[in-house]
Amino acid sequence: MHYTLQFRSIREYLPLLWDAAQTTLNLSVLAIILSVIIGCGLAIMRRSQSRLARILAIAYIEVMRNTPLLVILYIVYFALPAMGLRFSSFTAALIGLTLNSAGYMAEIIRAGLVAIAHGQFEAARAQGFNPAQTYRHIILPQVFRVIYAPLGNQVIAVILASSLASAVAVEDVASWMQTVGSTSFRFFETFLVAAGVYLVLCQAVNLMRLAIGRMLFKDNGVRR
């Protein structure tokens, strides 16, 4: 078993890697932003007075958390066109990733809301804050502190999960590895390079999380 590392033969594919890494990053960032927004909506629905809203939110969250992302991606990319909804690879991947991540985001945000004592709402009300003001000035800053660490986990999870977009023909880093590996036969090198890109992205998020956490809350640099 002697295998000599030979990065020379994959050098010509590096410009493609740059594009691929950007695709991975774009996809992840968009999915994270969108899923935070939808997750907030779901979390608020779960605490709503309306029973129907609560049940809908719970059903959504449970379905998303118990179904593989790959299956969701296939449904969006292969099955929805049968109903007349056709998306590009990137859009389909973004939709699938967002729908999936929103389920997790909702639970993270809900946990943050649950951690806020009810007295806080009442005190804000007594001070004459309306609901929007209550959330903006009293609740959300406290919620953010609670959800900061798990939110970081989810960001990393989305970056890793974005690799499945390659299964619906998005040309991301995982897809780069497969293409370049099978044309150059330098699988170990492509593996190291692709793994390196994800590793750098994830560890960068981790470092940023530590730094921002330290800046905002003094102590909260909690790792995974």
């Binding site: 118990n66 992302l69 590895m177 590996g181 593996f191 590793l199």
Partner: protein, 225 residues
């Protein structure tokens, strides 16, 4: 759901069994290997601790799909060996499960107070005896509930095996879809089956959690694949 699909039901169920088996195997390997990695991470010898930490960080910071591609396409080229889709999938899932389970195991080991170790040692127990009779049972209480979460995650991740062509549940759904001329139903069926299996496991996990009444719930990296 059309009549065609009902006739495929036995096929789906058989494939579901394969999915459960594949992920169970990966979880078991992950539990055993993860135990060793956890011990290495709590070791007194620095190089061992660093090595274990690197292993865990590496496999938690790269997608399983990347490992899977490498196992299935790379290893045969590098070592001139044949690797079946099943072996490659098990390997990739098990490596990830090992990294995750080692963190769960570590939380379990660390939840047992130092005094317990010292008491066992001073009673003349060997390391193995301490593990087996004192630390093990106590750690299990903490380890069991999050392990259920890891199993559900692994089960979902096992769908990736379909990408390299192993005919488990997801691949079966895709094949049935092809042979029935496309459409929505086979993929929807997949979603429903995965949901039923995982939701069942989650419910069982909830029962376990209540039964063991564990206060500290380990937050695992979520958004699974």
């Amino acid at each position: 759901m059309n009549h065609d699909l009902v006739s495929f039901l036995p096929l789906f169920l058989k494939a579901a069994a394969l999915t459960v088996w594949l992920s169970w195997l990966a979880l078991m390997i992950g539990a055993v290997a993860g135990g060793f990695v956890a011990l290495a991470r709590t070791s007194r010898w620095l190089p061992l601790r660093v090595l274990a930490l690197l292993f865990v960080e590496f496999f938690r910071s790269i997608p399983i799909l990347i490992v899977l591609f490498f196992a299935y396409f790379g290893l045969p080229v590098m070592f001139k060996i044949d690797i079946s889709t099943f072996t490659a999938a098990t390997l990739a899932l098990a490596l990830h499960a090992t990294a995750t389970m080692s963190e769960v195991m570590r939380a379990g080991i660390e939840s047992v107070g130092r005094g317990q170790w010292e008491a066992a040692q001073s009673s003349g127990m060997t390391f193995a005896q301490t593990m087996r009779h004192v630390v093990g049972p106590e750690a299990l209480r903490v380890v069991l509930p999050p392990s259920v979460g890891v199993y559900v995650a692994t089960l979902k991740e096992s769908s990736l095996a379909s990408i390299i062509g192993y005919v488990e549940l997801t691949k079966t759904g895709l094949l049935v879809r092809e042979s029935t001329g496309g459409g929505f139903a086979p993929l929807l069926m997949l979603g429903v089956l995965y949901f039923l299996i995982n939701y069942g496991i989650s419910l069982a996990g909830g029962v376990l959690e209540r039964r063991y009444n564990v206060g500290t719930k380990l937050m695992l990296a979520g958004g699974g694949q």
